[in-house]
């Protein structure tokens, strides 16, 4: 043959990629109605590429589901719609606002309130209504302490609860996918990825991200240790800093009332990677203002069914 040997190398990223593809296919093959949770954040954008690698040239064997807090960055929603249109796959949007209007949840203290917690109910309702038995997410074990013990396939009872003491042992890459009707699992194909792995993969695969991940000018103000964007949902309160224009970028996309920005000049993927290698704070401590009030906050929310 005249063409050079094309044999993909076995490297850290290709190993992580292979593991994720394996998990995606197992979930697709063994569950009746899987769904992929898509937030338009960097982890779920990587997840989409992994799904393309797992299933193209065929279609995805599952729809995408976005739990929309209503407190979004406009750029992120525009990006979400674009990427879904380009992929030609089905997107379902479950709105926290609908859960509020239906009286399923109560909004926290007026307009500045975080809707992160309310998401759990909206998500569980959406899963139950449509009979999804597996929800695929982009969570990583290195994000936060209590996640370090999460299985790749994490079993939830019919109330969406996670019992950390009754986890199924997860042996080799042999996933036990047997569930009863009403029970479901969360599947995390990227469990073993670190934040840097995600960025390096974005670089390798040349994936587009919402613009807020890169340095841009924005009116922000300080609240405690956090830098928050001024928006129609949130404005400085007494005790907060004064809003002013600065160069910032985000490390996660989420409810913009609680997602903190970091001051940064990193305008490209390569620059972000460089910045990360020098980073001093883990992702969550810096950018999730509402996880701070209790060190066990995330564990509690996971028991409640939060992702």
């Amino acid at each position: 043959m005249s063409t050079p040997a094309r044999t993909p190398a076995v490297t850290r990223l290709s190993l992580l990629e292979a593991e994720a593809i394996h998990v995606l296919r197992e979930v697709a093959a063994e569950f009746e109605r899987p769904v992929l949770l898509f937030s338009a954040g960097k982890d779920s954008i990587v997840l989409l590429r992994l799904a393309e690698k797992a299933f193209r040239p065929g279609r995805f064997p599952f729809p995408l589901l976005h739990v929309d807090t209503g407190h979004n960055f406009d750029e992120v929603i525009a990006f979400r719609d674009q990427i879904v249109a380009d992929l030609g796959e089905e997107l379902i949007v479950a709105k926290v606002q609908d859960s509020i209007d239906a009286g399923r949840v109560v909004e926290e203290r007026g307009d500045g309130g975080s809707r992160n917690r309310l998401q759990s109910v909206t998500l569980l309702d959406a899963l139950a209504e449509r009979g999804f038995d597996a929800a695929i997410g982009g969570a990583r074990r290195d994000e936060e302490r209590s996640r370090a013990k999460e299985r790749i396939l994490s079993f939830r009872d019919e109330y969406g609860q996670w019992d950390p003491r009754a986890q199924r042992p997860e042996l080799w890459a042999l996933y036990n996918t047997v569930v009863r009707r009403g029970e479901n699992v969360r599947a995390f194909p990227m469990s073993n990825w670190t934040e840097l792995d995600v960025w390096r993969y974005i670089q390798r695969e040349q994936l587009a991200l919402p613009s807020i991940y890169f340095s841009h000018e924005r009116r922000v103000f300080e609240r405690g240790r956090h830098v928050l964007a001024e928006s129609r949902h949130i404005t400085p309160e007494p005790g907060d800093g004064v809003a002013q224009s600065e160069h910032v970028r985000y490390r996660t996309v989420g409810d913009l009332t609680v997602t903190g920005a970091i001051r940064s000049e990193a305008a490209t993927v390569a620059e972000v990677i460089e910045e990360l290698e020098r980073a001093k704070w883990t992702e969550r401590a810096q950018t999730r203002a509402d996880d701070n009030f209790s060190s066990a906050a995330l564990e509690d929310r996971k028991r409640e069914g939060y992702f």
């Binding site: 043959m1 040997a5 094309r6 044999t7 993909p8 190398a9 076995v10 490297t11 850290r12 990223l13 290709s14 190993l15 990629e17 292979a18 593809i21 394996h22 296919r25 197992e26 697709a28 093959a29 063994e30 393309e52 690698k53 797992a54 299933f55 193209r56 040239p57 065929g58 074990r141 290195d142 209590s146 370090a148 013990k149 950390p164 003491r165 986890q167 199924r168 042992p169 997860e170 042996l171 080799w172 890459a173 042999l174 996933y175 036990n176 047997v178 569930v179 009863r180 469990s191 073993n192 670190t194 840097l196 792995d197 390096r200 390798r204 290698e277 980073a279 001093k280 704070w281 883990t282």
Partner: protein, 615 residues
């Protein structure tokens, strides 16, 4: 943070074990800290004095001060990334130890430098790791500053480690004296242990081999997913042994059909080779009937599908295993039913054989024989840790109850006489002549084979009715009906079809023996399977009439009373016989019915006459 190049870095998976309080969590904390992987907020907590807090996750554990579940940690150096599975020390958490070890390349065992050194628990960890195929043991002799950096203390442990490694047959055992608390020899070599000339712990981990995938072995490619897009049909999976090469002659197991790899596709275009454990999508030269759960192996591979396996189980369930119990077994991408046929030996947590054990209990290790309802394609675990591994799932609780490692496989029982060695045929008081004479009836089996919608059901229901109306005991075993219950657990791949035919053949034989006419209407596309049914009857001295319902494919597709052909055409049904699946017409059936030429009543009359002629 060291600069890493993701294209040269690889990934090593480490299971960390050891007795409670020997400093496992602290050592992991130290590794993370000194490899500069901990970022500032975690460092704050660590430097508050509790290194182990970096790894103790769940609140319950914090309250009780023990590690109860596997926690995964990540750190990197320039050379490689590390996935660290921190596994609990208590015997009652054996299942977590096994979980951590099942994916690990290496066991890092933390042992307190002070007596007693290696404890029962640490030995247990080494045994389990070895059982799961880990061949490289690294022992960190910890708290070395508490024994004043005494070489003798380390030597004593080193002796014990060497003896254990010899006894178990470990390929490599390395001992490093460290202090998790003060950092000696963890990342950099310490001046306080001048008698130790070896590498630091981190250096040992950086240099260790990564043995996870059997690259030098034979090709193993379990089909995980069928990728379809228009006419495209790719077999997607993860290479689980050997090298997947375009152009290679292959065979699909369990069917045994052969072909050649026409192409290997990836998202980025066609590729020539794929190494394990990477993924690829294979297109075969021939359009074989391949389904999820099948395995692609070299064409000349001697591997045979197994109906029976000898295996070692680590029991993780609260309900014990006893002989005769049924489970779901998952191996590669296949899930089958398995029955525990024999429990040969049970070892307790101290690795001692339990006398006359009738049950395999939580945390025990046992040697068993499993009988499989449908075959699996497996290698011994010592040859291939992917295709030789399986889990057992309890059918009621759905819990994962065992980690299994295949020791030996037997193709055995694909023949009609299959039975377990300790089962004997129980003769009744009646012989056949006596039975038939008293009942005034004679038994036989009429076996109708043909394409879906060829007219088997129409002819057979008419025949059944005609026989019963004339006072003969007759019963229709219809292909659709046996799929409820009797063969309700089977799919439509070649192996499952063979099993379906085998079951129906046995039922028909019993019925014929009882004096009835068993009317079987079954696609039964393969000659081999029908021949088995015939042999069964011939051996038992029972008449067997094979009827070929010969209707052209176009006519079947036109009739299509169940809409099967329409669904297949729309791509909503795969593996329909005559379409994507082959049908082998019988070369010499007793009767051929050409339904385009012969009316149903006429065919029924002919069959009745034939039965009468049998006497």
């Amino acid at each position: 943070m060291p600069i890493q190049d993701p294209e040269t870095q690889d990934l090593l998976r480490i299971a960390v074990g050891g007795s409670v309080d020997h400093g496992k969590s602290s050592l992991i904390g130290r590794l993370l800290l000194d490899a500069e992987a901990l970022r500032a907020d975690q460092v704050d907590e660590v430097s508050r004095g509790e290194l182990s807090h970096a790894t103790d996750g769940l609140r319950a554990e914090r309250e009780q001060g023990i590690t109860i579940d596997v926690a995964y940690r990540y750190f990197s150096t320039e050379k490689r990334g590390f996935v660290v599975a921190d596994t609990p020390g208590h015997t009652r958490y054996t299942r977590n130890m096994v979980t951590g070890a099942s994916t690990a390349d290496l066991l890092l065992l933390v042992v307190d430098a002070r007596p007693p050194g290696l404890t029962e628990q640490s030995l247990r960890h080494v045994q389990l790791a070895h059982l799961l195929g880990i061949e490289h043991l690294v022992v960190a002799v910890n708290k070395i500053e508490l024994v004043d950096f005494d070489q003798e203390a380390v030597k004593a442990i080193e002796h014990e480690v060497a003896a254990t490694a010899r006894r178990l047959g470990l390929r490599q055992a390395t001992v490093v004296p460290v202090s998790a608390m003060e950092g000696d020899n963890v990342v950099t070599r310490s001046a306080r242990t001048p008698w130790y000339q070896g590498p630091s712990l981190l250096e040992v981990l950086e240099r260790a081999g990564r043995p996870s995938v059997a690259e030098d072995g034979a090709l193993r490619f379990p089909v995980q997913w069928i990728t379809r897009a228009g006419a495209y049909r790719g077999l997607a999976g993860q290479v689980s042994g050997g090298l997947l090469r375009a152009g290679e002659a292959i065979k699909v197991l369990p069917s045994g059909e052969t072909s050649r790899i026409a192409r290997i596709d990836s998202f980025n275009g066609p590729i020539d080779n794929v190494r394990g454990p990477l993924a690829g999508t294979v297109v075969l030269e021939d359009n074989l009937d391949v389904a999820r759960g099948d395995m692609i192996v070299p064409a000349d591979d001697p591997l045979e599908p197994a109906r029976e396996v000898d295996a070692t189980l680590v029991w993780l369930g609260t309900e014990p295993l006893t002989a005769g119990r049924r489970y779901l077994l998952k191996q590669t991408t296949r899930r089958v039913r398995a029955t525990a046929r024999e429990l040969r030996t049970v070892y307790d947590v101290n690795d001692e054989a339990v006398d006359d054990a009738a049950a395999l209990r939580l945390n025990q290790v046992g040697e068993v024989t499993l009988r499989l309802a449908t075959p699996i394609v497996a290698d011994p675990y010592s040859v291939n840790q992917t295709t030789g591994a399986f889990i057992l799932i309890d059918e009621l609780s759905h819990d994962t109850v065992a980690a299994g490692m295949v020791r030996a496989t037997r193709a055995a029982i694909s023949e009609e006489d299959q039975k377990s060695p300790d089962v004997v045929w129980h003769p009744g008081k009646l012989d056949r002549t006596e039975r038939w004479t008293h009942l005034g009836s004679k038994g036989a089996t009429i076996w109708l084979t043909g394409l879906p919608a060829s007219g088997k059901s129409t002819i057979s229901t008419a025949l059944e009715q005609a026989l019963v109306h004339r006072g003969r005991l007759a019963y229709l075993l219809d292909g659709d009906n046996v799929r409820h219950g009797l063969s309700g657990d089977l799919g439509f791949d070649a192996a499952s079809r063979a099993e379906n035919v085998r079951r129906v053949a046995h039922v028909a034989r019993f019925f014929a023996d009882a004096g009835g006419v068993a009317v079987v209407a079954l696609v039964s596309p393969f000659k081999q399977d029908r021949d088995l049914a015939r042999r069964l009857h011939v051996k038992a001295g029972l008449p067997f009439i094979e009827v070929f319902v010969d209707t052209p494919l176009e006519e079947c597709a036109r009739r299509d009373p169940k809409g099967l052909y329409a669904r297949a055409k729309a791509g909503r049904l795969s593996g329909l016989t005559g379409q994507s699946n082959p049908y082998e017409p019988p070369p010499s059936p007793e009767v051929t019915v050409k339904t385009l030429e012969e009316p149903v009543e006429h065919a029924v009359e002919r069959l009745m006459t034939l039965l009468d002629e049998l006497g």
